[in-house]
Symmetry: C2
């Protein structure tokens, strides 16, 4: 009975660390995880150490270390907030702060619970216009055609169809994006990291961050800034006790989970820097992987779905030596 | 800073227990949770005690009780497996079993870790044809028109659009369903409960169950049986430590979480039976709620999405005295 749901899970769980798992038993039709794991080295792209934000929580009750690794989005997206996050990390501002909120099927959120810790000088105030970008920018060759899928070079991608949110979605340059044909923006998939804010849309500095730990809350897209994603250790956030105050906030200092340090990896000696790669979303391997996610034909499955939503095709990420 | 992301969360978390939360501050435009909470009594439907499966886990480290309440799907869906589940509960078969697997962003799964406990006599072997139903059955008035949304009585529903899975989806009779116009089937949303199986699709008896604790794994739809949903206490499963063996299985007896009892509520004295209601998906209140989920205009939001996927419009459920 231990194998119940097993084949189905082999990949489903694989993400984003699927490629690191032990290889599944040989099958005639490979699973998405097996496709990713078999991708040639040229299809994997190294993540610069300067884009890795390492958050260490206090050890758990058994004394085990808890490290969460976040990959920041590359320029030009969300760079105002990401610039602030780099300043906050350089100032060691998060050291001594805590995880303050864990709301089931929604988010885990961290920052300064006292709301009194002074912020470093020079943080940018970033306007709401930065939540999206115009489609004639950076990604114009993908989205400028305005939903005319036939003209897109990657037209085989299974997610290049209008979805329930009336958007066209695709993983491009390693990240999940949506577009309405005029603008495009990153998507609130599981594990994505965003910038908490107050009611005014320009109030998020980057000091208060959250990650998605449930079904994609895509109603937040274009309403709040996304800056990265958890690529390792999300279980240290997603398995925390849910807060019992309104919105999942913890009601007492004892419940909050201390953050001992947050560092950009380049602050460590080179030998101590973690190394990760993601599967190029522009590679043939990714297309095969995405197609297999949308059409599971590996053992266990009897009926391929014929499609998938963008958050059910997470970009494979793996740790490397 | 405590309000960061707060308004956005007020409803997002509300599900499925949104309507139970303390009312949010008055706003000119109500949130989806406020719409559900304000629905008249006639729009709420009592869940029969005979459809409530109560699973008690061993108390947590602090001695607090952990009860998970599951609503079984009403006939005619999945009745073969649900009949088995009723027999297993009546035999107190799950007492002394355990939660054996918790895989991040996927499922928590429970049953007999020894794989040796004899099953009760007379459990049905249910064929894979029961994963779906023909659209000319029970729901013909909704789906028989084959994607012709205009002919559907509920045509204003924001999810009555083809989605990323090439299906038409809708919450009907209180549950999330998808259809390809010919068949329809329940959907693997967060909190839905399904029947683990081995490789052969008729091998799931109902003794091994799982619930979704991550982004909707809709590639499982039509590949495995869904029988219900967690309507209370899912945090007792979703916040458990993730298993470190393959597929998130726990590697030792010490890690497994004991199940002390599983009962259909009717086995309790009437006064001890929990009482829940769900918001009728055929009510005007639900239409307003669904529209608000797809078009957030309450404070905090600056850009309504214009749509939502079926799993981002969970059916509101509330406990009642």
């Amino acid at each position: 009975m231990h194998r119940l749901l097993a084949a189905a899970a082999a990949l489903a769980l694989a993400v984003p660390s699927a490629a690191q798992q032990a290889p599944a038993p040989a099958a005639e039709i490979p699973s998405p995880g097996e496709i990713a794991a078999a991708a040639p080295a040229k299809d994997w792209i190294a993540i610069p150490a300067s884009d890795l934000l390492m958050m260490d929580l206090a050890p758990d009750a058994a004394g085990k270390p808890r490290r969460v690794v976040i990959q920041l989005m590359p320029a030009p997206f969300s760079r105002g907030w990401i610039g602030n996050i780099r300043k906050l990390a350089a100032a060691h501002w998060w050291d001594g702060t805590s995880v303050n909120r864990v709301q089931d099927n929604y988010v885990a959120q961290w920052g300064d619970a006292t709301e009194k810790k002074p912020l470093p000088e020079g943080l940018a105030v970033v306007p709401e216009s930065e939540y999206v970008r115009e489609a004639d920018h950076f990604f114009s060759h993908r989205f400028a055609s305005g939903f005319n899928v036939q003209t897109l070079p990657n037209k085989k991608s299974p997610v290049l169809v209008p979805d329930s949110y009336k958007t066209l979605t695709e993983a491009i340059f390693g990240w999940p994006f949506a577009s309405d044909g005029k603008q495009f923006w990153p998507v609130h998939c599981y594990g994505m990291v965003g910038v908490g804010r107050n009611m005014s849309p320009d109030t998020g500095s980057g000091a208060e961050l959250y990650t998605v730990i449930g079904h994609a809350p895509r109603h937040l897209d274009r309403n709040i800034a996304l800056v990265g994603r958890v690529i390792s250790g999300i279980e240290h956030l997603s398995s925390l006790p849910r807060g019992t105050e309104a919105l999942g906030f913890y009601g007492s200092e004892a419940e909050r989970v201390p953050i001992t340090s947050v560092r950009i990896a380049t602050e460590l000696a080179s030998v101590d820097q973690p190394k990760f790669e993601y599967l190029s979303t522009e590679s043939d391997s990714f297309l095969k992987y995405a197609d297999a996610r949308a059409n599971r034909r590996d053992p266990f499955f009897i009926k391929p779905a014929g499609g998938a939503d963008i958050c059910n095709i997470p970009v494979p990420v793996r740790a490397v030596k």
